[in-house]
């Protein structure tokens, strides 16, 4: 990572010189380009052509939606495979392979009617049995042991426990009523039924005879030409680790794609911009886009369009409210011990006032980020940007709060002592790997020392060691830096912030907050979005006041694409959307 970023800087230099040198020539050619483009646009979408996308790391090579894990594979699978439902720009669920759906009275069942003209890439028809098969795999005994992590899509299905443990051989959770009708049955009313139905479907006829343990290694999960989906492009060829070729699926159910092919190339971060400039690659998007530091360079490229949007995720400075004893791997708040150093809510609030988050965004992220005051992605209907405390940078307020709480500098060394008059030092822990985060740590230290808090900035640790310590050996930690990527399907933050969540590293235990989270996803009230919104709003206020973590910033995603690529229609969480409508003007 370090190295990558350094290369980056250097290349930026080189690029600047190049841009200066090539300036006059560019202007002439761009004006003719524009005219050509206008002609082309009037003519409407054209068939044919290839676009090349860049990603900075090679996919690990697992192209089965049931088993893949990384964003790099997702770049390919998002084009080749589809789910019953998709999401629109407001994150509402929209028909994809299912054309419509109906819930039963108590929301324990949802019946999907499938599109009737869908074929797999190999020509076989897509049917309800494929849906049943996919969810059966997710629920099967041995699925997790084989390396699968997506059982959470199936956990709420009726009979999941019995089936996944092998007690019962009958899979009752998803039932095919006929070829084009499929019903999901849940053990209890399910508020997130549509999220659960948003999993990419795999073909039964390809996988039915492969034992689940062998599935990740099967050629149908790995080899170009054998990976079969229903999406607008099929994965036909690859040079492993370098290039992945997707060719159009002419019988695509939403109409034949305009483009002949979409090719993914693996390109080093430091070279992406150069290749974007000379037209060798057409777009760069998920997961890393391009760096904020290069924004101006990209902006100056005449033929490149930039798309900037908020990310689903944020960086936090967690505050350890409680500590879990060494060796305790359970999630039982009654066994935790209070962190005396941070137990006062006022102290935590003072810390929030003391850090100039907008300053960090302007300085480190070149302004390409947003201050966020609650841990729900800002794009969601559930995000409340007004009621939770905003904690605008206010060092005076911070000092006042600290005085009120009894933290005063008694010995005149510039640092406050605790209410008992003892030395008060808070340690700040952070991992290496994310350059911006690494650089934010000493800045935070400075902000906090400014209001008289003595900070022990610990040596950064390599990621794996850091996470191991965070999980097991954090008994003397006060602050920790960490980033979270969030899911785009449902705003429920309980996986990170309920007191019994494994990832609640602050060991925050607030029964009121827990109760709100629970209510917000309990039927039947929670079927009303307004009700959930209200509960999440109350929860966000509670979070903001109690502050188990300060949300530092949410970095914006920066995508770029060549303007010859038309009909780019990004989703809040993905560049790839409706690729069958993409076309190019030459």
């Amino acid at each position: 990572m370090n190295l990558k970023n350094r290369w980056f800087l250097l290349l930026s230099f080189v690029l600047i010189f190049g841009v200066l040198a090539a300036c006059s020539g560019n202007n002439e050619s761009s004006s003719t380009n524009e005219e050509n483009e206008k002609d082309a646009e009037q003519a409407g979408p054209q068939k044919g052509g290839t676009v090349i996308g860049a990603m900075d790391t090679a996919p690990s090579g697992q192209f089965n939606p049931v088993f893949y894990e990384e964003a790099y594979e997702a770049n390919i699978l998002d084009i080749t495979h589809e789910a019953l439902v998709g999401q629109d720009k407001t994150l509402g669920f929209i028909p994809q392979l299912a054309k419509d759906w109906t819930f039963n009275e108590d929301h324990t069942e949802v019946t999907f009617h499938l599109q009737d003209n869908v074929t797999w890439h190999d020509g076989e028809p897509f049917t309800a049995d494929d849906v049943v098969f996919t969810y059966k795999i997710l629920s099967s005994p041995g699925y997790i042991e084989a390396g699968g992590i997506r059982s959470y899509y199936a956990e709420k299905l009726l009979g999941y426990e019995e089936f996944s443990s092998g007690e019962s051989s009958e899979f009752q959770g998803v039932v095919a009523e006929d070829d084009l009708t499929v019903t999901f049955k849940f053990a209890e009313p399910n508020v997130k039924a549509l999220s659960d139905a948003a999993f990419k479907i795999i073909p039964e006829h390809i996988f039915k005879d492969i034992p689940i343990a062998d599935m990740p290694a099967a050629s149908a999960s790995r080899n170009a030409g054998e990976v079969i989906g229903t999406g607008p492009f099929k994965f036909t060829e690859m040079v492993q680790g370098e290039q992945y070729v997707l060719e159009k699926h002419a019988d695509y159910w939403q109409g034949e794609p305009y483009l002949d092919s979409v090719i993914w190339r693996v390109v080093d971060q430091a070279v992406i911009l150069g290749l974007l400039e000379n037209g060798e690659i057409d777009f760069v998007a998920e997961p890393n886009g391009f760096q904020a530091a290069d924004y101006e360079i990209v902006e100056d490229m005449e033929h490149i369009e930039i798309i900037e949007q908020a990310d689903f995720g944020y960086q936090i400075m967690g505050m350890m409210v409680n500590h879990r004893a060494k060796g305790d791997m359970t999630l039982d708040p009654s066994k935790w011990t209070v962190n005396e150093k941070l137990k006062d809510q006022k102290v935590r609030q003072a810390i929030a006032y003391a850090v100039d988050r907008q300053g960090i965004i302007d300085g480190l992220l070149y302004g390409k980020g947003t201050v966020q005051n609650s841990p729900i992605a800002t794009q969601f209907w559930a995000y409340d940007d007004t009621n939770p405390p905003q904690y605008e940078y206010d060092p005076e307020q911070a000092k006042e709060l600290l005085e009120e709480a009894g933290y005063v500098d008694l010995d005149g060394d510039g640092f406050r002592e605790n209410p008992d008059g003892e030395e008060w030092i808070l340690n700040l822990n952070y991992p290496t790997g994310n350059q911006l985060r690494e650089r934010s740590a000493p800045i935070i230290e400075e902000f906090l020392e400014e209001v008289g808090i003595n900070i022990d900035l610990r040596q950064p640790k390599e990621a794996q060691s850091y996470f191991e310590d965070l999980e097991k050996n954090a008994q003397d930690w006060d602050f920790y830096l960490l980033g979270w990527s969030l899911d785009s399907t449902d705003p429920d933050p309980s996986g990170l912030w309920s007191s019994t969540a494994a990832y609640n590293y602050s060991r925050w235990h607030n029964p009121d907050a827990d109760a709100l989270l629970k209510e917000a996803s309990t039927a039947p009230d929670a079927f009303e979005e307004e009700f959930r919104k209200q509960k999440y709003s109350e929860w966000q206020v509670e979070f903001g006041e109690d502050l188990p973590a300060l949300i530092l910033y949410a970095q914006n995603k920066l995508y770029a694409h060549n303007s010859r690529l038309k009909n780019v229609d990004v989703l809040p969480y993905n560049f790839i959307n409706k690729t069958h409508l993409w076309y190019v003007t030459e």
């Binding site: 690990s60 894990e69 042991e145 992590i149 996470f467 996986g495």
Partner: protein
């Protein structure tokens, strides 16, 4: 001679065994495992715990080592913990060929550039070309690989469009001669980048060795006997001057085959180096172990080859 080689090869076995024990102990002692860094809020920690159990990561260290060793002696190095569904052998094989091509190409250009220039510099010391070569030598040693690589990409790929910037081949499905030349094209920039420092080093060595030998008594005697310059140079000087170079090359083979992390990364050239580094970061134990074993073997073989070449170049050296 053959006895010597066989004896040397037999010594490899205990050495490699000790190497695997040490490396295994070290990587398991490092904090974390392949699952520590996986933190998906949707995924219950129990899921990862089950996978740990299934992969045997909760077994005692000696049991894990024994399981690995049992497979390894039969040539089964297990499956990668990170690259799901792919065996370690497959992962390494896929990248080893690239690394070997790059290594051979690099050594090739190092030799054809460094040795003639070194000889010329020694024969015409303090000439313009000698000064030029010296300047190039310092440049080659001083400039960092990644920087040279990026500049080379910028100039030759992005501006001039002569050579491909990234990867080891331009598209899937190439065959025969076309594939060969395409791969060769992709080797030029990373090969030069990687060979730069080596070329500079060998050039300097060659110059000083040849100068040294040329000044020695037996060369003066040879001259006095009336031998022609070419005979003196190629028959008497070169052989002696090459001995230290061979030692260096022997080591270099091991180093080049272990991959060139930085160069590979700049050019996104899929070789062993980047695989090795990322598996260490991910704690992909079977991959780390196997690459280590392989590299250990390369270093030993490289040294053995150097020893054998000594006896060819210098008849005074005999192994019995």
């Amino acid at each position: 001679m053959y006895k010597y080689i066989i004896r040397r090869i037999l010594v490899f076995i205990p050495m490699l065994f000790i190497l695997t024990v040490l490396v295994f102990a070290l990587i398991l002692a490092a904090p974390g495992d392949p699952f520590t860094g996986k933190m998906d809020p949707n995924v219950d920690r129990e899921v990862y715990e089950k996978q740990r159990e299934a992969l045997g990561l909760n077994d005692p260290v000696h049991v894990q080592y024994w399981n690995w060793l049992k497979g390894a002696v039969r040539g089964d190095f297990g499956d990668s913990l990170i690259y799901k569904g792919r065996s370690v052998s497959e992962l390494i094989a896929e990248r080893l060929s690239n690394t070997v091509y790059l290594g051979i190409f690099t050594i090739f250009i190092t030799i054809i550039v460094a040795i003639p220039i070194g000889i010329y510099s020694a024969r015409h010391p303090y000439s313009l070309l000698d000064y030029g070569a010296t300047a190039f030598g310092f440049f080659g040693l001083a400039v960092p690989n990644f920087f040279f690589g990026l500049v080379a990409i910028y100039v030759f790929s992005i501006q001039l469009g002569w050579l491909p910037a990234q990867g080891s081949v331009s598209k899937p499905g190439l065959e025969g001669l076309e594939l060969f030349f395409n791969k060769l094209q992709h080797l030029i920039l990373p090969g030069i980048t990687l060979g730069l420092a080596g070329t500079a080093t060998y050039m300097r060595y060659m110059r000083s060795e040849v100068l040294d030998v040329l000044g020695s008594d037996y060369i003066r005697t040879a001259r006095a006997k009336g031998m022609t310059e070419p005979v003196i140079l190629y028959k008497h000087t070169l052989r002696n001057a090459l001995i230290p170079i061979i030692t260096l090359l022997g080591l270099e083979i091991g180093i080049l085959l272990s991959g060139a992390v930085i160069t590979e990364a700049v050019f996104q050239y899929p070789g062993i180096g980047t695989l090795f580094i990322s598996s260490i970061g991910n704690r992909d134990y079977p991959v780390i172990m196997t690459i280590n074993l392989m590299l250990g073997l390369f270093v030993l073989v490289g040294n053995l080859l150097a020893d054998i070449f000594y006896s060819i170049v210098d008849p005074r050296i005999r192994y019995d």
